[in-house]
């Protein structure tokens, strides 16, 4: 177990290192000299030279990378051109919204995806199963922003049950502010619940073909007990590991949803930074999301192995 964990952690570190090179290169391959982006068109040659030196852009590229990665490890992701503030603090400002949105989405995904997936698996091959599986595929084919716009139209504009946009912090307005996240999290949950539904169903069907399930049935154990004790427990292992990936993916999938609902999260920050050409922020967000994504994948992998020792060591 330990040797596997170390090996897996090392792989993640190598991947992260390679990814960091790509993310570093990003700011050097965007169209236009970053200096002009920073100073605008009216800069004098002297100003340009001074800033170029100050930023270390006159250094060899390898040295620039090492300096950058050194700063990153110290938590210094550079300065936002638009906000005139450290990138890390700009990202931290959006973190509350993004994390709460992702958490709330995962709650919907669990509440919708797992039970319905179970029903489809138990009624395998029936019209109910086909209908539910078909509905899941339909949900996975709907753009989240379209669902979002409809939720705004129906529940905010027509019925007035929920606010249509924005999100004031719960630390200022209390937990009631979570109502701002209800519609966005539902929109974001739709395709992901569909994925979890299909996964729950598939994994339960897989497990139900195992020998120990047949033995349990042959022993005369009640059908619902076979489902709950023998099938479900084992099937959920795969589902739980998918939760990790889904949560990590949500952070970037939220880009569109946060834009539709004008939420002050990391996703909307990316889009606005792209339109403002605030490259340091784009670079910082990509870095943070990739790190979170890889770390969650690592944790999921290791805990999966902990929960199911049968998983073969590679």
């Amino acid at each position: 177990m330990w040797s596997y964990s170390l090996k897996r952690a090392a792989t993640t570190a190598v991947t992260l290192l390679a990814a960091s090179v790509i993310i570093f290169a990003f700011i050097h391959i965007v169209p236009g000299d970053p200096i002009y982006v920073l100073l605008g068109d009216t800069a004098t040659p002297d100003q340009i030279d001074a800033l170029r030196h100050q930023l270390g852009l006159d250094q060899p590229i390898i040295l620039q990378y090492l300096t950058w990665i050194g700063h990153v490890l110290e938590g210094n992701l550079g300065r936002s051109i638009f906000f005139q503030a450290p990138v890390l603090s700009v990202i931290a400002d959006g973190a509350e919204t993004s994390v709460l949105l992702a958490t709330m989405t995962m709650i919907w995904v669990t509440l919708i995806g797992v039970p319905i997936g179970m029903i489809a698996a138990v009624r395998h091959g029936t019209w109910l199963d086909q209908g539910l599986s078909g509905a899941a595929m339909l949900m996975a084919s709907i753009p989240t922003f379209w669902v979002g716009l409809y939720l705004i139209l129906i529940f905010a504009a027509w019925l007035g049950w929920f606010p249509s946009s924005g999100y004031p912090s719960i630390f200022e307005g209390g937990v009631v502010n979570l109502r701002y996240l209800v519609l966005p999290s539902l929109a974001l949950a739709a395709p992901n619940a569909a994925l979890i539904l299909r996964l729950t169903r598939a994994s339960m069907l897989d497990v139900s073909r195992e020998d120990y399930v047949r033995t349990a049935r042959a022993k005369g154990i009640r059908p619902w007990q076979v489902v709950s004790r023998h099938i479900l427990r084992n099937a959920l292992l795969a589902v739980v590991s998918a939760f990790g990936f889904t949560f990590a993916a949500l952070l970037s999938e939220a880009v569109v949803t946060e834009t539709v609902f004008a939420l002050p999260g990391i996703g909307r920050l990316v889009v606005q930074s792209i339109l403002r050409r605030d490259y340091p922020v784009i670079q910082g967000v990509i870095l943070v999301i990739v790190v979170v994504y890889l770390l969650i994948n690592l944790i999921v992998d290791l805990s999966y192995r902990l929960l199911d020792p049968r998983v073969e060591l590679q």
Partner: protein
Amino acid sequence: MSRDGAIFWLKPFVARPIALLGLGILLGTVLAAIFAPWLAPYDPYAIDPSIRLTPPNALHWFGTDQFGRDTLSRAIQSARMALLIGSGVVVFALATGVPIGVLSALFPRLGHVLMRMVDVLMAFPSLLLALGLIVVLGPSVMNAILAIGLGYTTTTTRIVYGLTLRLRVETYVEASRSMGAGTAWLIGKHILPNLVSPLLVQASFVFAFAQLGAASLDFLGLGAPPEIPSWGNMLAESRTFITRAPWLLFFPGMMIVATAFSLNLVGDALRDRLDPRFRQLFGEKG
């Protein structure tokens, strides 16, 4: 494809009426794209301020937008962009994923390096990867295809790699090799023909998800230029008018859903016809 082959692939559609529906919608989209100028009742670009934001009626079945343009005509015209993006992404994903996957499986040393690079690319969530590329390349239709396509290069490569690893130890491949067949011959005669069916499945899913990716980029204003009619652009424009003109939201969105759904249905039906050993390489993607 021989007659028996055609029957084999058509069977799942006959057995499952809903898959047949998918095939029908897909065919309809293709026909709409090809015959757009003849099918559209009006010029999709013609502006008429006197009829702006008219609800659906006998003259304008899907209503009109804020410039008085006919929504139905624009929706039909947009089928072209949908097919262009979808097929562009599929072609890009296959043209990159197949060679990388096959060569990686046949030459393990090269494969070790290439597959690690694929792993690194996979560390970037696909929408984030697409957005980053759009920043570097600038927004355009071609770049949207590249940006979305690269995300599917990785998944396609992995599938092709897995398939080729299995194929190269098949008895007939080893027999062929022992009789002196070269690598090029093996690839052309044994590997590629066996990849056709699984890649057909992969192409259906990639096409479906490319629709959603392109719609997202268009909606964010980072995809096709606003003057080109596309379902995503139509939705982006209608956003301001959703309470006054909900029909502007309904029809383009339905088109996206119908296209993506039909491709998913087709892919699902085709997947069930795959060799069970290959099927497991297609995880539950949607």
